[in-house]
Subunit: 254 residues, 2 copies
DNA sequence: AAGTGGTCTAGACCACTAT
DNA sequence: TAGTGGTCTAGACCACTTT
């Protein structure tokens, strides 16, 4: 077993303010986070034990527990049963980025319907949507505009089945935003999302008003209904020079 | 205020197994998740109140609370104070992607050091590292191989300062994996990561053994020490056809 | 006023790790 | 054996929303 440094005695500068609107567990988490930011607690160091924190800050074990869980969830400490809780080293692999960073692009998007036709599924579409080849699907092409600029080119195949009301709703151009933002009454159970970097082809470049070669982000999505049947397969393609994902690892700025 | 459907009475098929190794809060969360998967609870539906769950499953309020917090953290329900807890609709924007998906590429990577020189900072480098223009930096170029294939081309500028021991450690080729995986004794406090889609230039394509034009993922990183001074600025560039980020929204498969 | 979620207490027992 | 984190109880009080 690897050696771990002993825990240090923290300065008792900060304490829990019981009159504050901020919950005690959150205050305690911030106090500990502050200790790390100041370098009092370095990566690999052991935090004070839960019992010590209970005594030092005058809160109950559950409150200490919650504060430590919070920090563990945020990836800044790691708790090891029977050993202690330790400050996690900064690792680039801990980075997580969220699609909601693109919310602004979708919330204010103007949706231009380019095409909506019934087409028979070829082999690829049939396999993705788990339907027989040759079965009818609805093929939709949309262009999403944001502040006068084309932001995304979206293509989608929907299972054509009159008994599934989602088809009707999806044909409305506004349904796209509901899909992204989430809305009450959705008939989707879950979805798989995949992000790739691709080159724009000529048609994509023309619609997005750029010249090839140009890099792009591609967001492929496959949504399922409550019977676990695929209902929607499609891609959003957006110019890479207008899309950016950022995140922070290690100590999160509050 | 928008109308919300009333909560339904759940079948009491499942119950908490006190002899199980699985914690009660986790069991309860899974029971509720199962109800959603079966369609008993649909997006927008209200979950049973905490008091109802306490009575129905014979656990304490804190345990119920924890189960609901777990589901809320996972984004499948939303709790609204004074109103209730509701099943969240599926939203594509809820997708989160984790860089740790690339762990296998870094863990087994063979690092080839292409260059490590002291260079004076130009305007761009100086601005990023917050040092005066013309100050000396260490410029490192590396190629990461995985299973006999070039996986990433990495370039990095390090602040050159003999008083900062990180410089010595970073020059070791193995330090790169530690940066990605995290390791005890790191002197980094936090880092900013940015992901872009780009086109490979000629040099990048040659090293990664592909032909232009080719799309690529670029992971830019900027790491800070405990005095909040930037110490490392660099990019990993990897072939897009070998990199994929996937995730799931809505009901998570367990 | 009644019902909801949000926080918190002051303990308890257990599993695990180190000595 | 002593110390650690992990779970759990059976309540309490509060803020908020709805009726």
């Amino acid at each position: 077993m690897a050696h771990r440094p002993q825990n240090k005695v923290l300065q008792e500068t900060a304490s829990i303010d019981r009159d504050s609107l901020e919950p005690a567990y959150s205050q305690l988490a911030n106090i500990l986070r502050q200790s790390m930011a100041e370098g009092l607690l370095r990566p690999g160091d052991q935090l004070p034990s839960e019992a010590q924190l209970v005594e030092r800050y005058g809160v109950s074990p559950m409150t200490v527990r919650r504060a430590l869980n919070l920090l563990a969830d945020q990836g800044v400490v790691i708790a090891e049963q029977g050993r202690g809780t330790f400050v996690k080293p900064v690792a680039m692999s801990a980075a997580t980025f969220q699609l909601s960073q693109l919310d602004y692009l979708f919330r204010n998007a103007v949706v231009q319907l380019l095409e909506a036709h019934i087409v028979t599924a070829n082999e690829r579409v049939a396999r993705k949507l788990c339907i027989p080849e040759g079965k009818r699907t609805i093929y939709i092409r949309r262009l999403l505009w944001n502040e006068g600029q084309p932001a995304f080119y979206h293509r989608e195949y929907l299972v054509y089945d009159p008994t599934r009301p989602i088809v009707e709703a999806e044909l409305e151009v506004t349904a796209l935003q509901q899909l992204f933002s989430g809305s009450t009454g959705s008939l989707l159970k879950y979805g798989d999302i995949r992000i790739e970097a691709t080159l724009l082809d000529d048609e994509e470049a023309r619609l997005l008003q750029v010249f090839t070669p140009m890099a792009a982000f591609c967001f492929e999505h496959l949504f399922y209904d409550f019977e676990n049947r695929p209902v929607s397969w499609g891609w959003f393609i957006g110019r890479a020079d207008r899309l950016r994902f950022t995140t922070q690892v290690g100590l999160l700025s509050e």
